[in-house]
Amino acid sequence: MTLAARPARRRSQRGLDDRLFPGATAVSYVVAILLALACVIPLLYMISLAFQSDAEVQGGTAVLLPSTWQWGNIARVFDAAPFGRFLLNSLIVAGLITISHLVFDPMVGYVFAKFDFPLKGAIFTAILATMMISFFVRMLPLYVMFSNAGWLNSYQGLVVPFLMDAFGIFLMRQYMISVPNELGEAARVDGASEWRIYWNIVLPQTKPALAVLGLFSFVFQMNEFIWPLIATSTEQMRVITIALPLFNKESFTQWNLTAMASLLLFVPICALFLFTQKYVVRGIAMSGIK
């Protein structure tokens, strides 16, 4: 399994002589477009909802579009609850975890890809096996551990359970197997330190895999729900995914503000996705390859 050079368009021309019945292509277009619209229309409606007036969302009859776009809702949502702080908390936590994944996952993957040592197979299997350990099994013991350490409701408490990730290690190992050994060997003969070989020679060659890893780590941590729900108790430490349902519970008639608050998380993630699609597509494809 390599990341590089998946022949993406190899078969893009097929289909013209493969029609199931006359007009099949036209039907495909219609069905595909309808399904694609079904995917985005609810999210577009959320944008519309975010700019509706209180009267429109409380009127008992939903409206598709606001009669006038209430740009003031943006400011109102920050007045209603400290959403700036929530978003900042999310960014700090997801950012720290992403950096940690980018530092440690390739390091560990490198060792398993390029070194031979006693217990290698056992350690690798043990690390991969952690993928099967559901977070719901770790949830309570972690809560107790962190409570005893005084780490609940702190950044370290939110970050530490996710500092490394077995899937990221697996991904980097697979990629590094295909990185040629010659340059590293040459540097080793020249007396370069092992760390320099890794940092200056091997790591720079894995940039595409690092991009996938960083992107997925960041998006998944921004969207993470269960641990912040358990591990935070004050408004100060709350992340945005937890703040959204709480805010909705407190001001359940103001769906416009809930939708606007949702946009604070949705718009950046969506923009990131649009700009880095290539890597997202690659990452998902890799998750399915055995």
């Binding site: 008992g60 719901f136 099994v137 269960i226 937890i242 959204l244 769906w255």
Partner: protein, 312 residues
């Protein structure tokens, strides 16, 4: 069905790395390599022991006790209780139903989309992007958005029904589990589509060419080539899907609060309730461990079958 939940099959036949393999003797160079490897591994070993295996061990111990405060050993009582508790059994069955429904839905739609997009439709990159957006969206947003859309009084779906003269529906009361299944299918079909697209691209073009020369029609080619060669992908989707459905928490927590009644009390939501609401810690630990055992069994099946490439 998130990416981080996926369990790739361990390739046991990995050839030993070509670096330093000069016989069994431990040369100074090889010793240096071994030391380097261990130094690089120290942080990982510390992390996985402290954050995975030690908690796992603790949870196992707790599951054989009455709880955290003044724990009394109770043997297998918590497990026996869970296995005969109608609430737990109900929750497990509801979760299986949720898993089955959302998998059937997202596999049908995902496969359909993959087959259509794989024909080289013009604008397929745009379509693919649109279809994937829900998958990239946080469950918090998805849950709240659908709760609003489905709301009997202020939701836009009922407004639309009224506008065309149909009666309003209270989906979250009349068909709560099916509604959660629908939301999941909406969110995850794009991910399944991507997996099938990757599977389709891996089928060699030559196979199709050869069968065309043999005069096989489109339908025959689909049935005899595409379907069997996609079987490994389908199998992967199924297992990953069941494992991640077993851990669906956000939707019942945000959309239905497990209700109405216990209609959508998915398994991990039940574990969460036992842990933090009822604080029946020993019992909750046993439930979590039963979940772990279930996931382990599924994963071993995946590894077994995944290795037998001739079969799938």
């Amino acid at each position: 069905m998130s990416l981080v939940d996926t369990v790739p099959v361990v390739d046991e036949g990995t050839p030993p790395s070509p670096t330093r393999r000069q016989g069994r003797r431990v040369t100074p160079l090889r010793r240096k390599q071994i030391i380097t490897a261990y130094l690089f591994l120290i942080p990982a070993v510390v992390f996985f022991v402290a954050m995975f295996f030690y908690p796992l061990f603790n949870e196992l111990l707790t599951s054989f006790t009455s709880g955290l405060t003044d724990p009394v050993p109770v043997g297998f009582d918590n497990y026996l209780r869970a296995l005969s508790d109608p609430v737990v059994i109900h929750s497990f069955l509801v979760t299986l139903e949720y898993a089955a429904g959302s998998l059937v839905g997202s596999i049908i739609i995902g496969l359909l989309l993959a087959l259509m997009l794989n024909q080289g439709l013009r604008g397929r990159v745009v379509l693919r992007t649109m279809i994937l957006v829900p998958y990239m969206t946080s469950i918090a947003i998805v849950g709240l958005l659908w709760r609003n859309i489905l709301d009997p009084s202020v939701g836009i779906l009922n407004t639309a029904l009224h506008a065309v003269g149909l009666p309003g529906q209270e989906w979250l009361n009349t068909a709560p589990l099916q509604t959660l299944i629908g939301i999941t299918v909406w969110q995850e079909s794009g991910y399944v589509m991507m997996l099938f697209l990757a599977g389709l691209q891996a089928i060699p073009e030559e196979v199709y060419e050869a069968s065309k020369i043999d005069g096989a029609g489109v339908w025959t080619r689909f049935r005899r080539i595409t379907v069997p060669l996609l079987a490994p992908t389908t199998f992967f989707v199924l297992l990953v899907g069941v494992i991640s459905s077993m851990q669906q928490f956000g939707l019942p927590y945000i959309v239905t609060n497990g209700g109405p009644g216990d209609a959508t009390s998915l398994f991990v939501f039940q574990v969460y309730q036992e842990t933090f609401t009822n604080q029946d810690i020993g019992y909750a630990s046993a439930m979590a461990f039963l979940l772990l055992i279930f996931i382990l069994i599924l994963s071993f099946i995946q590894m077994r079958i995944g290795r037998r490439k001739d079969l799938v």
